[in-house]
Symmetry: C2
Subunit: 145 residues, 2 copies
DNA sequence: GCTTGACTTGGAGCGCGCTCCAACTCCTAC
DNA sequence: GTAGGAGTTGGAGCGCGCTCCAAGTCAAGC
């Protein structure tokens, strides 16, 4: 019995090299819930994860890398459906590199537009704040500057 | 947009109470659907809009300004619930200026953090794209043109 | 053996932000 | 008067991205 992360307090990050990480550990490291991890796998976003002899998931470090990238895609607003497309292309291997590149550049452009929009919105927000600041100064009796 | 009787600039000589834009016009101008406009009003985001003699909505230009601002809040990720809080404060008048200011500065900070996060994500995305570009060049560029 | 606890599954449920529907009223055009 | 079209209402329904649940399996500790 190699001690594995079933131990509630196992802060040692080196982990267990031969078995892979159990789902709770991955949940903690990624910040995704265990349910979400299983959901992602069922949805085909993650290729079937290795299993222990008891049928429990054991995540490899490559799975963690891929999860980290998926989380970047989500954080930038990519839909699950598009992530499924990307994951499917990835599964096809090197023949799909051009398609993956296209999907990614399209998404990059969308993110850049989104950032630009947000910056415009932020300007309006800041202007409004300045306006309120002025009102407040008036109210709170800057009688005497 | 055929000529319809409730033309926004229809000078009815006898009465003046029927002024303002009908909902379809506002929908077109804002890009919000008529359903969404009614939903926002029901939710209390918009103060009760004026009505024509037939009970139909007639939006004032101040309503349009407010809608535009609401749309900025939405675009920057503010929830309907928070927009309701803001709208309620606004209804209270000048006594709520400080609270509105606080709400807005908090939101501004959140938006700034969000933009910063997106920029980090974008960097990762760009790196990945570069990587794929390299793979693709390897694949297709074994013979140089 | 029994208990505990982390895991497994399929599927139901939820919160958000709309979106759609049915049934109705009102006004204008013909 | 009749048709059509825009508007009204309350409430149901929907797509997304999870989130939760029930019932079961497995391994370890007592």
């Amino acid at each position: 019995m190699t001690s594995h992360a079933a131990n509630p307090v196992d802060p040692d990050p080196k982990g267990v090299p031969d078995a892979g990480l159990p789902i709770a550990e991955v949940a903690q490291r990624t910040g995704l819930s265990k349910d979400t991890l299983r959901y992602y796998e069922k949805a085909g976003l993650i290729e079937a994860v290795d299993r222990s002899s008891a049928g429990q998931r054991r995540y490899a470090t490559t799975d963690l890398d891929w999860l980290a990238f998926l989380m970047r895609l989500r954080a930038t607003g990519m839909s699950i459906a598009d992530m499924q497309r990307f994951a499917e292309l990835r599964r096809k291997g090197s023949s799909s590199v051009a398609d993956r590149l296209e999907l990614l550049t399209g998404h990059r452009d969308a993110v850049q537009r989104h950032i630009a929009d947000l910056q415009g919105d932020l300007q309006v927000l800041v202007t409004k704040i300045t306006h309120y600041q002025g009102l407040l100064d008036e109210q709170t009796g800057t009688d005497q500057p």
